[in-house]
Every structure is written in structure tokens, then in C-alpha cells.
Symmetry: none
DNA sequence: ATGGAAACGAAAATAATTTACATTTCGGAG
DNA sequence: CTCCGAAATGTAAATTATTTTCGTTTCCAT
């Protein structure tokens, strides 16, 4: 059973994203309308939708079929289930409208990044990484430059709670020295959005000299990826707008969550105990109940 | 027009719960079926649903009307919207989950968090915060404990690129001292998922004594929210599974992106120059082209 | 019991969706 | 350049779903 995509596919709009290139002209018009105003589509009949997209109703039906839905209503239900934020149609640019568009845009990009990361996941590689991490004596999380160093910090933040020994550094010199001092059951996790952070590549090469297992969170085929023992790939086109922050961070963060959860399950008992201890400390230093997320 | 329920009511099942006592016999049968097998209802025609509830189609239509929906299809859409979010929170524990399910679960939660944050956005508050930030002499980003300190770092990371002066601290003592030393066009941004980080609340209170504008990224109505000049609310139910990291981080991060983008647009010219400079430095120290996201 | 209101379903009317088929478009072979 | 065939799209008919209308039943209060 391959059961690739469709099996549990709910996020229709994301599925649509990846089908985009195979669509015909009319279908593209429908797709654009959907992305622009999801709300409208969800609350319209096939006739209204067809009219607004300037196509005929049968074209809409065929469009739904192509996306794996048996009927227009099935499509509409899936669309309703999709927690995707459509962007509104262009409106007179009042100030508020500008704000709303910015918000929609950013949320959209984040959701798309998450979706694409999920699509491209290599489960076997994930398992292997989780295995190594759960057996590591020491874990080094490396990344530099704002985004990647945040990712490295986050790796530490998630893993130390499970009772693992983790350190992180954004400093190239330190990274190289740490890599050189690592020994076999240790693991190095290196993150770089571009994959072309050369000092980091050198650190991984040093680790490899000493047979230390290294994981790269980066772009497929990049120098960093090539230097690592294994890569958890994140391949996202970066936007051109320099004001706009990179949406890739969301994908990295989710990937870390996934890895950390898998490691937690492998360590079950000892991780629970560590978490219990952390929680105990947190609770006794907080004024109230213990329902809070660990560590705020 | 009373418009009690219908206005923006999305959680149909909740609406149904509260209407339960006013329902007739047949309507109760429909309601029971809905609670027992929501999936079925979402994917059925009115005829199938009526047949399974052993009532006539018109009764189903009347039932939908009573719940504030104009038609059966509107009802179905709302049902689809509620069940989806609902089922995500009722996911079984990750204990017996495979790798694929873990991944799906985490991506789902992240997307839901983004979606809900977007739904609840207060555009006017956002505008005000962006105004203040873009005019601030100095910006202090506070947060402690792994998650919130990451958020604070991220605020710094996004804003310094725009040419703003930003500092961050996770240390309660420092936060208090910094708050006390701030002067009016300065802005303090404090983040706390629980909203009950009391030392942070004290820091905001100190800031308020000196008429310094403060922004809270936190839960509505929490102590931190009350102590701040303005709140950008993030209200998400936190999962109970202690292995699972909080999905709220995604919402916070996106919110920061939105604010930062808005500030960037307000500062357009000077921000562009700052970004250009940063990029110049990055490029001259990298081996290759300039297409990379700023700062990796 | 019995009048009357509410609940309900049958059937007709309407509306939405899909199917079947005709027309158009477009790329490529001759 | 034109003609063929495949793909895309639309029109109209057929089907199916939904709602409305109206008559029957139920059940409560008198």
C-alpha cells in the first residue's frame, strides 16, 4: 500500500498548490479564485463559483475531480475543513486593508511552508535521526545568523527537557572545536537555510573525520547537506521581498518538533521523569496551578 | 433582529448543545446522530442523513434553520469547520503513533494555531503597536523560559534589521532594571504563553509607572495582559500531552512576522538602507551569490 | 372528547449538480 | 498553411438534491 498523498489528504488547497502546474487555463482561474477568496468558495454554489471564475459549472466539477474529490460538495466540505487563510480580493487600500493583507500573506506563507515540509518528509531518515539522538552521549546543535541560530537554540530547548545533554553554539570557532572534540555516540545537528554556511560545513567535515554522526537541516544538495551523515531536507523557495521574513523558519521549527517528539517516545520513561522534575520546579516557583505549558 | 447564535457562530455542535432542550423528538434524533457520527453527517446528503435519523428531509432542513443556518449546505459547511478543528484537539496521545502520524499531528496543530491566531487578530491594535515600535527610541523584548525567550530573541532578530535599537533579556532582574530605566518613546514587548510570569508583570508595572508604552503577547485577560498598555492576544488551548511541544509558538512567530513587516513598511526608506548594509556585509563574507535569506 | 397548535411527512416545485454530447482550441504532422 | 486529433470547454438535457407547500397526525389544554 503506497497510500502516498490522497489517503488522508484534507488540506485541499495545499494539494492544489502542488497540482498547480498541471492545470488548464480555466482550472487555473478557479484555483486563483480559491486562493484569493476561500470564504466565498466555501459559501457558494457551484454556479456562483463558476460565474465568478468565468467558467462553466462542469469545469468546476471536473476541477474538483482532478483534486481527488468525487463531487463538488465533497470538495466544498474539504475546503471548509482546511484551515487555510485565503487572501481577500484587492480592495481600495485603506490602511486596515493593508494590515489585513500583510497578515494573510504571512500566515499563508507559513502554512505553505509547513505543508511543503510535510510533503517532502523522509520518514526513514527521521527514524534514523531519532534513533541516533536518543542514544547520543552528547548533542551539539549548530547554526548561525539569527534564523539558524534560533533553530539551534530550539533544538536544545526541546531536547534537554528529555534528559539529553545538549549544547549549542552559533560561533564558528566554537563549532569547529566542539566538532573536533566529539566522540562517537555524540551527534551534531547543523542547520542552515541556505546550506552554504562554509565554516559550518568545515565543522561537519571535521566531525566526519572522527566518525561522529551529523545531521543537516538544510537544502537538498547543498554543501552542508553533502558534508553531513544524513540530511533532513527543507527545500523552500525564498521570497524576493527583503522586508518579508523567511517562512522557512516555520518548517524548521515543525521539523524539530517532530524529531523531538519521536525522540521523546524512544526515551519514554526517562523523559517523563525529567519532564516531571522540570515541571515540579516550575510549579513550585509559579504562583498557581500546573496547567501551563512547560517553561512558558 | 436578535441574531443571537447565527452572527458569526462557527461551533455548530456547541450551539446545538445549548439548544438541546428546545428540540422536538425528531430533532433530538438528528442531534444524537450528529454527536454519534459527525463524519457521516458531513459527508452525506440531506436524504441520507434523514434516512439514517429516520426522519424526513424537510425535518432536517427545519433542524438546520433552528440552528441558525439558512440551508442544509450552510449547516454542513459549518459542521465541517467545527469537526475539523475539534478532532485535532481530540487526537489520541502520541504513545501509539507512528512516525507519519506524529508528523501529521504536529503539522496540523501548527497550522491550526496559525489559523486561529489569524482569526483572532485585532488589526487596530496591530496598527497601534507598529506605530509605536516604528517611533521608538529603544525597544526592549522580554520573555523567559525557552519558548518565550525564543520569541523575545525573534523580536530582536526581526527588528534590528530594520535599523531599530533593540535589546532582549530573559533575566527577571534585568527586565525590571531595564523597565525602570526606559523613557517615553521607548517600547517594551513582553511575551508569555501563560500570561502568569509574575516577575515580568512587575516589570511592565514598573514601565507603566514611568509612562512607557508596553505590549503584551499573551493570553487575553491574563495578569500580563492587564499590566500592559496594549495586548496582542494569542489564545490557544494547550494540549495535555507533555511530550508535545506547544503549537502556540507558531502563532507567536507569525504574529511577530506580521508586526515586523508592518514596522518595515512604516520605516521603508531607512529600513531598506539598513537591510542593504546588512546584506552587503553578508554577501562579502559568503562564497556566492546574494539570493540568500538575510542572515541565514 | 375536542379545538388548536405544533410536529411531521408526502409530494410538488425549485434549485443545484452532473452527464452527455457538441463545439472550440491548439499543437504538430504533412 | 491547413488539416487532424487530442484536450479543453461549454450547452443543454438528465439527474439528483433541497426546499416549499400543504395535508395529516400528535398531543396538550380545555
Amino acid at each position: 500500500m503506497p497510500a502516498t498523498v490522497s489517503e488522508r489528504q484534507v488540506d485541499i488547497l495545499a494539494a492544489l498548490q502542488s497540482e498547480m502546474e498541471n492545470l488548464s487555463r480555466s482550472e487555473v482561474r478557479i484555483a486563483e479564485l480559491l486562493f484569493a477568496d476561500t470564504e466565498f468558495a466555501v459559501n457558494s454554489s457551484i454556479i456562483e463559483l463558476a460565474a465568478r471564475a468565468e467558467v462553466s459549472p462542469p469545469t468546476v466539477t471536473r476541477f474538483c475531480r482532478r483534486l481527488g474529490c468525487a463531487s463538488y460538495s465533497e470538495f466544498k466540505v474539504k475546503l471548509a475543513q482546511t484551515t487555510y487563510v485565503g487572501s481577500r480580493y484587492l480592495q481600495p487600500d485603506s490602511r486596515d486593508m493593508g494590515t489585513a493583507e500583510i497578515a494573510e500573506n504571512i500566515v499563508n506563507r507559513a502554512q505553505t511552508a509547513l505543508y511543503q515540509m510535510h510533503q517532502a518528509l523522509d520518514l526513514a531518515a527521521l527514524d534514523k535521526v531519532a534513533d541516533r539522538l536518543s542514544q547520543a552521549d552528547m548533542i551539539y546543535a549548530f547554526g548561525s545568523g539569527g534564523n539558524s541560530s534560533m533553530i539551534a537554540d530550539e533544538i536544545q530547548n526541546r531536547l534537554f527537557r528529555l534528559g539529553l545533554r545538549v549544547t549549542t553554539s552559533a560561533d564558528h570557532e566554537m563549532q569547529l572545536m566542539m566538532a573536533a572534540s566529539a566522540k562517537s555516540p555524540d551527534v551534531i545537528i547543523a542547520s542552515s537555510i541556505s546550506g552554504r554556511n562554509m565554516p559550518l560545513v568545515k565543522a561537519l567535515e571535521a566531525a566526519s573525520d572522527y566518525k561522529v554522526f551529523s545531521v543537516a537541516l538544510t537544502r537538498t544538495g547543498s554543501p552542508l547537506s553533502q558534508a553531513a551523515s544524513i540530511t533532513l531536507p527543507i527545500d523552500l523557495p525564498e521570497g524576493v521581498n527583503i522586508y518579508k521574513p523567511t517562512a522557512a523558519r516555520f518548517a524548521y521549527l515543525a521539523l524539530i518538533d517532530i524529531v523531538a517528539t519521536m525522540v521523546a517516545l524512544r526515551l519514554k520513561d526517562s523523559a517523563t521523569e525529567t519532564l516531571r522534575r522540570i515541571k515540579h520546579q516550575m510549579v513550585t516557583h509559579r504562583d498557581e496551578d500546573d496547567k501551563d505549558a512547560l517553561g512558558d
